[in-house]
């Protein structure tokens, strides 16, 4: 390992009754990185970060966070963590400024500055119950960053925020990263993970499906680009020419609409072919795979594998 790890999880297991939520999970969060934990609802992401914060006791496996075991050394660990939890709240009648006074420790940064940065300066005297969803999220973020934590855990960070507020929050997370703080981000918003994370870990049914830089995941699981354009009476020679281009997987024609799928360099080749041919179609559009496509591809793949496994078991069972 080149960088010291802030979080090291090995073989984490957690079940609620008979339902296994996290099943042999390994996770590393290197110092100073933004690591995203992504996956569909119910993949076990929140349970994992709750175990990391010592809010839940794992059934098996080991967790080490900043050198502490969260299950037994929560008191030492908590002051070093900043966290924003999913489905949590403050007392309705607690005011914004009072919440800051309540949570702050001697090593806290100036609350007023943070409130200013997140557009809450005007709401200092407002009760928590009167804040909008977005304001609550921003307040949680302020509280998470208040005590200069070494690791920040953000669970469903931008849920309920409008696009402008989301950009604001993303900028704040990037700033944290620039200051050297390590961030563990739980999300099912792929654009958020793509925008912020240096590394993402994809979870499904409590296990890690794949991990890596967002771009690598996209290449691995959603390598194809899709190009669409309309060309009434699309000439066969042009389509043949496109079909023979390097990396083209398929060319589809439905009426005037032409769809070309292939590896990403195909975008340039098709563009060049169209330019050579004549006037470029006005509705030319390109869809480049995103992390979301990669995730969908990955989850579909996992599901398909499972069906195969189930099928095999069935056959095995009959024998």
């Amino acid at each position: 390992m080149d960088k010291p790890q802030v979080v090291t999880v090995r073989g984490l297991r957690k079940a609620y009754g008979n339902r296994v939520v996290v099943d042999g999970l390994d996770l590393d969060v290197p110092t100073g990185e933004i690591v995203g934990l992504i996956g569909a609802n119910g993949a076990g992401k929140t349970t994992t970060v709750e175990c990391i914060q010592g809010l839940r006791r794992p059934d098996g496996g080991t967790i080490l966070v900043l050198g502490y075991d969260p299950a037994t050394q929560a008191a030492e660990l908590r002051p070093l963590l900043g966290s924003q939890l999913q489905d949590s709240a403050l007392p309705d009648r607690l005011r914004v400024a009072e919440a800051i006074e309540l949570i702050r420790t001697p090593r806290a940064r100036a609350g007023a500055e943070l409130l200013e940065q997140f557009g809450l300066a005007q709401r200092r005297r407002s009760a928590f119950g009167s804040l909008s969803g977005g304001e609550r999220q921003r307040l949680f973020l302020v509280l998470a960053l208040l005590n200069r934590p070494r690791l920040v855990i953000l669970d469903e960070l931008t849920q309920g925020l409008d696009p402008a507020a989301r950009r604001n929050v993303w900028a704040a997370v990037r700033q944290l990263h620039d200051e050297g703080t390590t961030v563990l981000l739980v999300t099912h918003e792929m654009d958020e993970a793509e925008e912020l994370c240096g590394r993402v870990v994809v979870m499904r049914d409590g296990r890690v499906l794949d991990a890596g830089a967002p771009a690598d995941l996209v290449d691995r699981h959603a390598g194809t680009a899709t190009i669409r354009f309309s060309m009434p009476d699309a000439p066969a020679p042009l389509l043949d020419q496109v079909r023979q281009l390097d990396g083209v997987h398929e060319v589809e024609r439905a009426g005037a609409r032409v769809t070309v799928r292939g590896a990403r360099p195909v975008i340039a080749h098709v563009g060049a072919a169209l330019v050579r041919w004549g006037p470029v179609p006005a509705d030319l559009s390109v869809h480049v795979p995103t992390l979301e496509d990669a995730l969908l591809g990955l989850l579909d793949g996992a599901e398909a594998d499972e069906h195969v496994a189930e099928h095999r078991e069935l056959i095995g069972g009959r024998r």
């Binding site: 809010l55 908590r78 966290s83 949590s88 709240a89 403050l90 007392p91 009648r93 006074e101 309540l102």
Partner: protein, 143 residues
């Protein structure tokens, strides 16, 4: 008192004074009901009240209503809603040890009860008069 528990107690006391439910059931309800019921039965000792002044009987009873309101209405509802809404988790993640909630609630409950009892007696004294305390040591022994 800048420990976690200390900060929590201060915040909880402040929040309590903003809660209309607590102000009504712990402070106003026992006093108003004591005044009404005490007034209805008068202040003449009767055999039905063990030859005690009925108003005094009710002053004493409504002290227990204060305790019940704090113990049965205020604290459990408060704690249940904290747990359900994720406030406890939020505080736990912010570094407040679990015992600090229990301590804060206990202290806030005791302070509230004491203040409400003093208020009730302060209202009762000029209206019905308060009898002298017999066997003062039995009060803490009973509670």
């Amino acid at each position: 008192m800048n420990t976690a528990a200390g900060r929590l107690i201060r915040a909880e006391l402040k929040l309590m004074t903003r809660d209309p439910l607590v102000l009504t059931f712990v402070f106003a309800f026992p006093i108003v009901t004591m005044l009404i019921i005490g007034g209805a039965f008068g202040t003449k000792p009767t055999p039905g009240f063990d030859n005690v002044n009925p108003a005094h009987w009710y002053v004493a009873s409504y002290l227990t209503v204060v305790i019940a309101a704090a113990g049965l209405v205020m604290l459990p509802v408060h704690l249940a809603s904290y747990r359900e809404r994720g406030v406890l988790r939020r505080f736990a993640a912010a570094g407040f040890p679990r015992w600090s909630f229990a301590v804060a609630q206990l202290v806030v409950g005791l302070i509230t009860t004491a203040v409400a009892c003093v208020l009730l007696l302060a209202v009762a004294a000029p209206v019905y008069g308060l009898p002298a305390l017999h066997d003062g040591w039995r009060v803490p022994a009973r509670t």
